[in-house]
Each structure stands twice: as C-alpha cells, then as structure tokens.
Symmetry: C2
Subunit: 353 residues, 2 copies
C-alpha cells in the first residue's frame, strides 16, 4: 500500500499499532483528541524538545528509519536523564519528506516503540505532516525528585564546584567511531558491531541519572556535542575550570583497535552523540555509581540500575577554581590537547555529517 | 551580521532577548540547561505538539516570518483551548532552512513573543537546528480544571450527545478568505485587512474554552481542518450525527463582500485554520458564552473573557442520534451541501497551499 492511499487518521492508527505498548493508551486523554492529558502530582515537571532532521542529524545511508526513530527518542530521554529526572511521556511531530514510503513510516514507528520500551517512556500524542525534509521533533516530559523540604533535586549544568571530580558513563566516542566506520565501508566488520550500535541505538542513561541525584550528585550534562564541548558547557555555566586526564577517558576498545588510539581519542573529545552522562561531584558518590553496578546492590533509596544502565562510571578529571569557563585536557606527557576540529555546532553545520 | 557568524548559544541568547517577557525566566530551570523545569500541582497536565513547515503550512510570500511564529504559537495554544485547558509553557524546535537570514530569525522570535504575550503563555525552552526546510515544531503544556471530586474537566471530541446544540466562535472561513485574497493579489485592499489578519495572526480562544468548561460544556474542537471536517471528527468520536444550518454559519462580512457568498461559504466549510472553537452543549450554556461577551459579566467562577476572546458565539446546528459519524449541512431550500473540495488532509497535501 502506498503512503498517499492512507488518510491522516488511518496513518496515525497504523503508527499507534506499531508503537505497541509504547503508546500511552490508559492516560486521561490518549492520542486522538486536540491534546493529550495525564495526571500530575505536586512537584516538578521537567521537559525538553529536540529536532532531528535528515541531512543535519542523520543520513539514510548510515541508519534505517527504525534507527532514526530510536535515536530521536534516545536524544530526548537523554536530556531528561541528564537532569536526573524520570521521563514519562513523549509528544512526537513527524515530518515526512517527499521520498518517504509507508514502509519507512512503519520502520520509524517500530524504532520509536522499541526505544520507548527500552527507556521506560510512552508516547502520549503527536502530529504528522508532509514536508520538504524528513525529520522528527520530540518533546519529552518527566518529573523530578523532591527533597523533604520541597526543593527540586536536579542535575544542573551550573552545579559543578571546585573540588568536584569529573566522571563519565560508558565509553566516549563510540557513536562517532561507529559512524566513521560506516562512512569508510567498514561498518559490517564484526569488530565494529558495538560501535555501529552506539551510533544507531544509543541509550539515555535514565537510571544512572536518577541514582546520581539520589547519591547527592548535582551536576551533569549528556554527552551530545563532544566531550570537550560538553565539559565546556559545565565550565561556563558553573563558572569553574575543568581539567581532564586524557589517559583516563574511557575509549571503546573496538574504536582503538579499528581506528587507532589517536583517532579514537579525537572522536571521543570532539565527536559527540554518545548520550553518555558527564557528571561532577564528590569522589565517593561518583565511584559508588560504578560500584553499585559491579556489586548489584543499589543501597537504600537509590534506584537500582537497569540493564541498559549497566555501564561503567569512570573518573576522568576534576573541577578547579582556576581558569573559569575553560576546559584543559592533559596528556600523560604533560602536553595540552589541541582538538583537530570543532565540536558539533548545529547552526553552522551544513548537513555534511 | 550573518546568521552563520553566530554560534548556537549566541543565537539562542538573541532569540530569548527578542522573546521579551514571553521567555519564561523565573521558572525552576529556564532555557540553557539540558531541559526546562517548572512546578506542578496535583491535577491534570494537557499537552500537544504541532509542526508547521514551509510549503505545507505556510508560504513566505503570504506571511512574514513574524506571522509564521505567531501562527505556530496560535495553532498550539488553540489545541489546548479546544480542551478547555489553561496553556502555560511552550517548547519550540526551530528548523532553519538554507535561505534563512538572521533577520528572519529575529522576525520569527518577535512574532512568537507577541503571540505568547497575547495568548498568555511563555517559552520554557527549545532547540534550533539547520535543516533542508524551514519550519517550527511547538509543544504546548498546560493544565486542566478539576471538579471537587477530582475528575478532569475537559472539552473532548467525544463529548457530544444527541440533543446538544452546535456553536462556533467568531467568523468561519476568514483565514482561508484572507489567503485567497493574498493569492489573487487583493490582499492589500482595505476591506481585506481583517481577513488577511485572520490568516496571519489567528488567536487561540483560551478564555472562551475555559469559560465553556466552567459552564458545563464538555465537547469542542478547534476549527483547523475546515468546519465540515472538524464537525466530522466530533461526529465520529462521539458516535452521533450532526446537522448544520448553512444559513447560520457566521461568515465574515468582508469575505462575502469580496469573494461572494458562495465562495465565502465554501471556504468556511472546507478552508480551515481559523482556530475558532466548535462547541456542542446545552443551548443555554452556549448562548451564555455569547451573552457574557455582550454584557461584560462573566458570572461567579467563570473566567472573564479577554479582549482576544471578545468574539460572538453562534448556534449553527444540532447533534442527533441519527446518521452517527455523519455531518449533514442543510441549505435554506432544503438541499444538502456538496463540498467543492476536500478539507485539509496533511498527509495527502503536497505543499501547494
């Protein structure tokens, strides 16, 4: 069946069917009215919106439409994870370019559904329109924990303090390494699989963000623009300096093996879109996040990490009072890292990645 | 200054400055972190997302970028108004096409800001990306009234009951008439001004939706797809029939004068995008909404209508148990209206309006 043979409502019904249990059917007003409605509790709403468009954020030759849907969900969920919030509902606006087929829409909805189930969110509503460019815009809503005295507990970019240690989850640069391997025709190599997966199926670190909040960590950002640029956002908003020990940055072994240590490092520092968490806080609290994973014991009141959050947390540097706003990355020989290229600036990018 | 000379964050700062008091600066977490955060009360959240893209939903030769921004806000606010909800916050994803200038972005932000102030909402956050097509995706978040027994009070598409009367606010078809006049080179005629304004600067009927809820009305939709199609949505979701007296449909006098009564009627029934409210409910309640406007007295517990909601409410038909799912529009001579064209179906439209 051709996409144009379906009316808007038949298409929406088909998408909702593909979403499966990811479609929020039992809320006060599910999909199908002027707006969605759900119950709220007294507290704090946390919300974000992101757009992913073909040519700027994804290419059809490096990922399927199912991957595009998954990744769009992950990017939004990751923003809430980086606040330490609990994601609840997504609203999804889908832009269908002129070349989109019904199979593409099916794939997109399937990828969105799989990502929602994996990351514990549901789709409350959406919009679907014809456009010159294919893309997705997702708004994600969640809630924040509260302390007993009613202050919101959030991971803020401005929450870093001199004396804090800096940590990252998972492996940094894996997504960019996966993309680089696909682009050079090596994406099908067996050794490349975890890197390709990091590019196509990244995971928002929801349980980790919530565990960090529960352990007293108050500063995080998700690694989406490249590690150095993301650390720069923390340094600027917190009015602190950040020093990183390059040797400590957790590169993916497959990236080092297939691309070499230097390229793997460059991709980690400048590549972006790993959606790992960058955290600053006390050494004990950060190390406990790693230890909880290994021991399987979360501790009282600490959310248990799910399988998707079963990632290492690695100390990579420290927060200092000196050089506020600036990030300095040191090599073991005492030299300062000079990036080969800028991080990801969406307003300058012209669509060639 | 050229758009490409500004980094993403400088551009966002510039947009926030243009938004003026429409930027939500005093919420828990304003723009600038991974996500926005605000306080919630126990009750019901109402949320919607819409995308407006160039070529499909607007053309740069019929409206300025400021109009585009205004209209995108109005379309979203209108969805919440049609639920009887109180809009609070917007999240805005902006897609910048290759031909967009810094002046365009300034104009867009200004139009968004003006619309937010006029309709009582604020921008809590957003995203700005380069894309092949220019467009906006806005997610709007608001809250619903509650009864004392904790049930949400909303205007649902499925809330129409046989015996209800059908009413519309304002004039129907004015926006489509304005667009038709612009397209035929008559948009600058003095008499066309209110119609051109209806196309470029529509207003979500927030206070009217809330007043309707307070008066016991339980069914509404906003008039965005054309009156017949929007009534069809109510008929389908409510499993009722709807009968409309064509002679009662409030056409704009300027549309009748400039385009003739038949074209004005065709545009009202099939044109769409007026963002007026279509309501069904008891005759007294619906007429009181019109009377409140004229007397200036809202009544105890009834939100007072703002200037932007100072529109007539006109009875145009009734809800019947017969022909469920079907809308029949009767002319005064007893003939049934046959539409000259379909209403607006976004998945079929190829961008020529």
């Amino acid at each position: 069946m051709h996409l144009n043979d379906l009316g808007e409502f038949a298409l929406i019904d088909r998408i909702v069917a593909h979403l499966g249990e990811a479609a929020a059917r039992d809320i006060v007003v599910p999909s199908g009215d002027d707006a969605a409605a759900w119950t709220t509790v007294e507290g704090y709403a946390v919300a974000t919106i992101d757009a992913l468009v073909e040519g700027t954020h994804f290419r059809r030759d490096t990922m399927s439409m199912a991957d595009v849907g998954w990744r769009a969900v992950a990017a939004n969920v990751s923003d809430l994870a980086a606040m330490g919030a609990e994601p609840q509902y997504l609203l999804i606006a889908t832009l269908l370019g002129p070349d989109v087929t019904l199979e593409d829409v099916d794939g997109l909805a399937q990828g969105i559904g799989e990502a929602c189930v994996a990351m514990g969110v549901r789709v409350a509503g959406g919009d679907i329109v014809r456009a010159g460019t294919t893309g997705l815009s997702i708004a994600a809503y969640g809630r924040a924990r509260q302390t007993t005295d009613d202050t919101p507990v959030l991971l803020r970019r401005g929450g870093a303090r001199p004396g804090d240690r800096v940590a990252v989850s998972g492996h940094i640069g894996a997504a960019a390494a996966g993309l680089a391997l696909i682009e050079t025709g090596r994406g099908n190599q067996v050794a490349a699989a975890p890197l390709v997966r990091a590019h196509r199926r990244p995971v928002g670190r929801v349980a980790l963000g919530r565990a960090a909040v529960a352990r007293g960590v108050r500063c995080a950002i998700d690694c989406s623009d490249g590690l150095l640029q993301d650390l720069g956002h923390i340094a600027e908003r917190s009015h602190v300096g950040i020093e990183v020990a390059l040797a400590q940055v957790p590169l993916h072994p497959a990236a080092v093996e297939l691309l070499g240590a230097q390229v793997a490092l460059d991709l980690a520092l400048g590549g972006g879109e790993d959606f790992e968490l960058v955290l600053t806080g006390g050494r004990e609290a950060l190390m406990a996040l790693d230890g909880a994973r290994r021991s399987g014991s979360a501790g009282a009141g600490i959310p248990r990490l799910g399988r998707e959050d079963d990632v290492p947390v690695t100390l990579i540097g420290r927060v200092v009072a000196e050089h506020p706003g600036e990030v300095i990355a040191w090599a073991e020989d005492g030299s300062v890292y000079e990036p080969p290229r800028r991080g990801w600036d969406q307003t300058r990018d012209t669509g060639d990645r």
